[in-house]
């Protein structure tokens, strides 16, 4: 009787000790599930997890917090040492001042116009090229594809000067086409699109042809609807790249009422107070953060597709 009772109590105690839920393992990695769920494994795991969470938040979120609170502080509070962690008297004035001083309305409208226009041009040019190379297979198609892919080996920066000279010769300075046309010459987009089009079964295309669809109709009614995933990836990639671009718009869009937001901020940042700069930066960041929230999957897919480019 006593032994049973003792056994029951120890059993109960052990049960309590074990009560921390085991760490669930859906896939095996370097550390085995067994090691992970041992007493020390679990302690180390939680320690590492908390450490990583703290370090990542400090490294990647805190700078953005500092930017936001910086914009909410007065210039006097910003100059204060040591700095205040939370704004003493948060005021959104800096945003409105930044909006007026940087002329952000115009800059954002310009940038949106360039990004969306560039997207349309880029998709029209690259989709039709990839379709021709993949499905219509003209003579010398492989040579052309090879030459397009070869441009991926030439980093953008080293042809910056001759590209600029070319645009000047064509008289395209301060013309949005100076942004759109070079962006459309994108070997990587054509590579991604062609690789996807290649995977569309030939029978499908042939069936459309038998039904009397010409190449344009086949592209519109068969190829494009199937290719929605890759079109999404390429679209996001194109829009984000053009929104973020700095050096090229700095060179070709020099009129102050035609600048992109990045260039506009860089030109005016020295002449305004720090809280206004931060307000401007925050307004600039918001569109990209929203895009990232919504299209995270597309962006990550584009990224891993990017790692096997070449």
């Amino acid at each position: 009787m006593i032994s049973v009772g003792a056994g029951a109590t120890t059993g109960h105690k052990r049960g309590k000790k074990r009560s921390p839920k085991p760490i669930e393992v859906q896939f095996r990695t370097i550390v085995s599930p067994h090691q992970l769920n041992s007493k020390w494994g679990r302690r180390i795991y939680w320690l590492v997890l908390v450490a990583i969470l703290v370090v990542f938040t400090l490294a990647f979120v805190f700078p953005l917090y500092w930017m936001i609170t910086g914009a909410l502080k007065t210039p006097e509070e910003l100059a204060q040492m040591p700095p205040t962690l939370i704004p003493a008297d948060p005021s959104p004035d800096a945003f409105f001042e930044a909006w007026d001083l940087f002329d952000i309305g115009t800059l954002l409208a310009n940038t949106a116009y360039y990004s969306l226009g560039g997207w349309i041009v880029c998709m029209a040019v690259d989709v039709s090229a990839a379709y021709a190379l993949s499905k219509l297979r003209p003579k010398f198609g492989n040579v052309i594809l090879g030459m397009m892919l070869a441009t991926l080996m030439i980093p953008a920066m080293v042809v910056l000067i001759p590209l600029y000279v070319t645009v000047v010769d064509l008289g395209l300075l301060n013309n949005p086409w100076a942004l759109w046309l070079p962006a459309a010459a994108n070997g990587f987009n054509i590579f991604l699109l062609k690789r996807f089009f290649d995977s569309i079964p030939r029978e499908l295309i042939e069936a459309a042809q038998i039904d009397g669809a010409g190449p344009v109709r086949t592209l519109r009614s068969v190829v494009l609807p199937i290719s929605r995933p890759i079109l999404g990836v390429v679209s996001i990639l194109t829009i984000v790249t053009s929104f973020k671009d700095f050096v090229w718009p700095l060179l070709v869009m020099t009129d102050s009422d035609r600048m992109t937001i990045s260039v506009g901020l860089s030109q005016t940042a020295g002449a305004v107070t720090q809280n206004q700069v931060m307000g401007g930066l925050l307004i600039t960041s918001i569109p990209m953060i929203i895009v990232f929230f919504i299209f995270q999957r597309h962006i990550m897919a584009g990224l891993t597709a990017g790692s096997i480019k070449g």
């Binding site: 370097i30 100059a79 040591p82 980093p155």
Partner: protein, 288 residues
């Protein structure tokens, strides 16, 4: 007849892309070659000057400094930007919680326009009320001059560059790590391999190609570094942060000497093409 028609339609679809590539991708490469033997300010007629542009470039004391700085920047950026993301990806892959948050957060700076990162860090580096010196002060450490001293300026640029770019590499490694078959780890464990041996004998060989590929990509990307010195230091102090791309930009758009800028661009192109050729060979190996 039918083949002719098919070819004609195909080239009809291709013509826009061919025009774009010809004018804005293929021709500029040729133009760079021509430019490097000319003296031109884009206003007066260009003059052929033979190898003068290369001579001027080599005689410019900033030229050798720019190459050394670029090399130093690339090496430092590799230490931080290459090794750190791999280790981070290794650890992230072991975690079973908060994965989505960590992935999101590490990629967030990559999404921001570079100008945001650069102007934000310019403020952090402010020797007075800047965040970094305030943190040093909080821990009782002496303040640093960051961008204002030739000894810390370059490393300060590397830090910004790493902060805004490391997310991409991290997520690419993470995807590669998730493709390693778990049987390999199980087998290694049965053979008595500890955690570090598993990393050495399973993880690294399994991700070797992507590691090499990323190395090449990153060398090419960091050797073109421009926006950081342009916005943060203007090449100073005392030319400590003049990079090759920055020097090229200065020659063209401050001195209006597009010929010598073309010559510098040519040289940078040749160096980067060597790395690109390596990369191409690796991709071929990958497909084989």
């Amino acid at each position: 007849m039918q083949i002719l028609r098919r070819n004609l339609t195909a080239y009809g679809f291709l013509c826009a892309a061919l025009a774009c590539f010809t004018v804005f991708a293929w021709y500029p490469m040729v133009r760079e070659f021509i430019l490097s033997f000319q003296k031109t300010d884009l206003i007066n007629e260009p003059i052929w000057v033979g190898l003068d542009n290369f001579k001027t470039a080599f005689l410019d004391p900033a030229f050798s400094e720019a190459w050394l700085n670029t090399l130093e920047f690339t090496l430092l950026a590799l230490v931080f930007g290459y090794a750190v993301p791999f280790v981070v990806a290794l650890v992230l892959n072991e975690l079973r919680h908060a994965r989505a948050y960590l992935r999101f957060v590490v990629y967030l700076p990559v999404m921001l326009p570079p100008i945001v990162a650069v102007l934000l860090f310019r403020w952090f580096y402010d020797p007075g009320p800047g965040l970094f010196n305030q943190v040093l002060d909080f821990f009782g450490l002496a303040p640093l001059a960051w961008l204002d001293s030739s000894s810390t300026a370059l490393i300060s640029l590397v830090i910004v560059s790493t902060w805004m770019n490391m997310g991409g590499a991290t997520l690419i490694y993470l995807a590669a790590l998730q493709n390693i078959p778990s049987e390999l780890y199980e087998a290694a464990e049965l053979d008595g391999a500890g955690i570090f041996k598993r990393i050495r004998h399973v993880t690294i060989p399994q991700t070797r190609l992507i590691l090499l590929l990323m190395l090449m990509l990153q060398i090419v990307a960091t050797m073109q570094v421009f926006i950081e010195p342009y916005m943060l230091t203007g090449g100073g102090p005392e030319n400590a942060t003049v990079t090759v791309a920055y020097l090229m930009f200065q020659n063209a758009f401050t001195l209006q000497d597009y010929g010598s800028a073309g010559a510098i661009g040519m040289m940078l192109m040749i160096v980067l093409l060597v790395f690109a050729a390596f990369q191409l060979r690796l991709t071929r190996e990958d497909k084989a």
